[in-house]
C-alpha cells in the first residue's frame, strides 16, 4: 500500500512532463501558427458554436448513461474473508464509478468495514486495507488522490447483525459515499 502516494506523485509528474512537451513544441511553431490562427479563428468559432449544442446534448446523454451505470453497479463493494483483494464484480462496479468520476470533479469517501470475526483493532486495520485497495484502484485509474478520503470502521458498524456467513458476507465491504 505504501507505494501509492508515491505513485500519485509520479503520475502528477508525468502529467506535468506531458504538458511541458506540449508547450515547448507549441513555442517553436508559434511564428507560423500566429498568422494562420488569426485567419482560422473566426471560421473555427462558427463551427464550434453549432457543434457545441450537439456536443452538449451528447455529453448530457453520456453523463446520464454513466450515472445509470453507477446506479446499476451500486456503491458497496464486497470482499472475501480476511481479504482486501478486489473481486472481479467489485472491479466492474468500480469501473463504472471511475468512468463517472472522470467526468466530474466530485470527491468521494470510502468507508471500509469487516465482519465480526477476529480482533477489533486488527479488523480496524483490515477495513482500512480494504478502503485503500479501492482508493488505489481509483488512483491508478486517474482519480486524483485529494478527491478520495478513506476511513475504516472495522467491525463497529455492521449492516447485518448476527453471526453466520449470510450476515458476515454483507459486512465485509467498502462503501463509497
Amino acid at each position: 500500500m505504501k507505494q501509492l502516494p508515491v505513485a500519485g506523485k509520479t503520475l502528477t509528474l508525468l502529467f506535468a512532463a506531458a504538458f511541458l512537451v506540449a508547450c515547448s513544441s507549441k513555442d517553436t511553431k508559434e511564428a507560423d501558427a500566429a498568422a494562420v490562427a488569426a485567419a482560422e479563428a473566426e471560421a473555427r468559432s462558427m463551427a464550434e458554436r453549432s457543434a457545441a449544442t450537439a456536443a452538449a446534448n451528447a455529453a448530457n446523454a453520456e453523463q446520464q448513461r454513466l450515472q445509470d451505470a453507477v446506479a446499476a453497479a451500486g456503491n458497496v463493494f464486497y470482499f472475501e474473508y480476511d481479504s482486501s483483494t478486489l473481486t472481479p464484480q467489485a472491479q466492474d462496479a468500480l469501473d463504472a464509478h471511475i468512468a463517472l468520476l472522470n467526468n466530474n470533479d466530485r470527491s468521494v469517501r470510502l468507508e471500509g468495514h469487516t465482519d465480526e470475526r477476529g480482533t477489533r483493532e486488527y479488523n480496524m486495520a483490515l477495513g482500512e486495507r480494504r478502503a485503500n485497495a479501492v482508493r488505489d484502484y481509483m488512483g491508478v485509474s486517474g482519480i486524483a488522490s485529494y478527491r478520495i478520503e478513506t476511513v475504516s470502521y472495522g467491525e463497529e458498524q455492521p449492516v447485518a447483525y448476527g453471526s453466520g456467513e449470510a450476515n458476515w458476507s454483507q459486512n465485509r465491504r467498502v462503501e463509497l459515499k
Binding site: 500500500m1 505504501k2 501509492l4 502516494p5 465480526e116 470475526r117 477476529g118 480482533t119 477489533r120 483493532e121 486488527y122 480496524m124 486495520a125 483490515l126 482500512e128 486495507r129 485503500n132 478513506t150 476511513v151 475504516s152 470502521y153 472495522g154 463497529e156 458498524q157 447483525y161 448476527g162 453471526s163
Partner: protein, 432 residues
Amino acid sequence: MKHMSALLLAALMLVSIGTRAQLVIEITQGRDNPTAIAVAPFAWQGTGPVPEDVAQVIDDDLARSGQFDPVARGDMLGRPSSQQEVFYRDWQAINAEYLLIGRVNVTDEVQMRIEYELFDVARQTRVLNGYEEGHVNEARMLSHRVADEVYQQLTGTRGAFATRLLYVSVTRVPNGKDYFRLTLADSDGARPIVLLESREPILAPSWSPDGKEIAYVSFETSRPAIFRQDLASGAREQLTNFRGLNSAPAWSPDGNTMAMVLSKDGNPDIYLMDLGTRRLTRITRHYAIDTEPTWMPDGNALLFTSDRGGRPQIYRYDLRSGATTRVTFEGSYNARPRMAQDGRNLVLVHRSGEGFHIALYDMETSRLQILTNTELDESPSIAPNGSMVLYATKSGDRGILAAVSVDGGVKFRLPAREGDVREPAWSPYMSR
C-alpha cells in the same frame, strides 16, 4: 476545557442510563475444592439506614474469585460482630473453615469506618484484623478493600477487587445510528458511570499505569482519533488527528509514553508518542498490518500483532536493540496480546478451528493453553494480580463480558441488562 465541562455535564446526565446497563454476575464454573468462609453480617453502629451491606459485597467478591465458597447467611448459627461473641463450635458445625466478622460506623455523616476480624475456625485463632476508612459514598470500594485483605491473607496473592473496569456498551438503533457508551464501573460491575456517549464508534479503552487517566479511540469527529481523559476532573484532550488509523493506545509502564497505531505514513504501524513533548517515534515499518501494541511490564519491549507472516501473529519489539522477533507459532491466528504483571503470562485471542478463543501463552515454556470454549471471544484484559482474565464474548446475538481464571478453572459471566457490552479494560491497582 470547553470539552471538559460539556463532557462532565453529559456524564452526569447519563448516569441514569448507565445504571440500567449495570452488569450482573453469574458464576458459571468454580473450583473443585473452594475454601469455605463465613462472612457474618457486619454490625451497623451508625444511625439511620445502613449505607451498604458491606458483608454481602465481600461475600460476593470472594465467591466470584472461585476460590471461596461462602456460607449462606441462613445457615449461620450466630451473628457475632466482636471476638467475644465468636463461638468456634457454631462455625465448625457448619463446616466453615474461616469466619469474617466486622463493624461499620459513619461519623459526621460522611466518614465511614469498617473494622474487620478474620478467624481460623479449626485452629481457633484470629489470623487478621484491620480497618478501612473513607467517604461513605465509597462504601462499596471500602468493602472491596476488606475483601482484598482477606483474599491476600488466605491465598497469598494480592486481591484485585478494589479495582475498576472500563468497557464499551452499544445500544442498537434499528435503521439508525447506534449509541456507543464508554462506561466506568467497579470490578464487580456495580456503580457504572457513563464517561462518554456518542453515535459514532468508541473503542480501545485503556488505563494509565496509575489508574487516574484513560485513553480511548472515538469516531466523534467522523474519523478515528485518540483521546486522553482524566477520571477525576473529566478533562480530556485529543492526542491525535492523523489521516487514516488512530488506534490502540497503550500507556507505557512509567506513564510517560503512549504506544499507538497510526497509518498516516501509508499503512498501520506502531508509533510511540512522548506524552510530554508529543514527539512521535515510528517503531515498525512494514507494509503489513502492525497493531494492538502492549507493553512488557519492564517497559523495555512491546508486543504487537502483525500479519507480516501472512496471518496475524504476536511479535516482540525490543526497544533497546530494535530487534523484532516472532513470539507465537501455534495456530493460524494469534492476536491482541495483553501481558500480565509477572512478565510471563500472556493472554491473547487464538483461533482454533472456526472459533476465536482466549488463550494463555507462557513466555517461558512457550506453551499455549486455550482458556475459553465459546466461539467469538475477544479483547482479553488481565487483572492486575494476574489471577483472572476478563474478555468479551457473545451470548446469542448479544455481546457480554465474561471472566476466566488464568488456570481456566473459574469462569463467570457479567451480562449487561441491555445492549452489547465489549472491550473490557481492567484497571491497574488503584492508589488510595
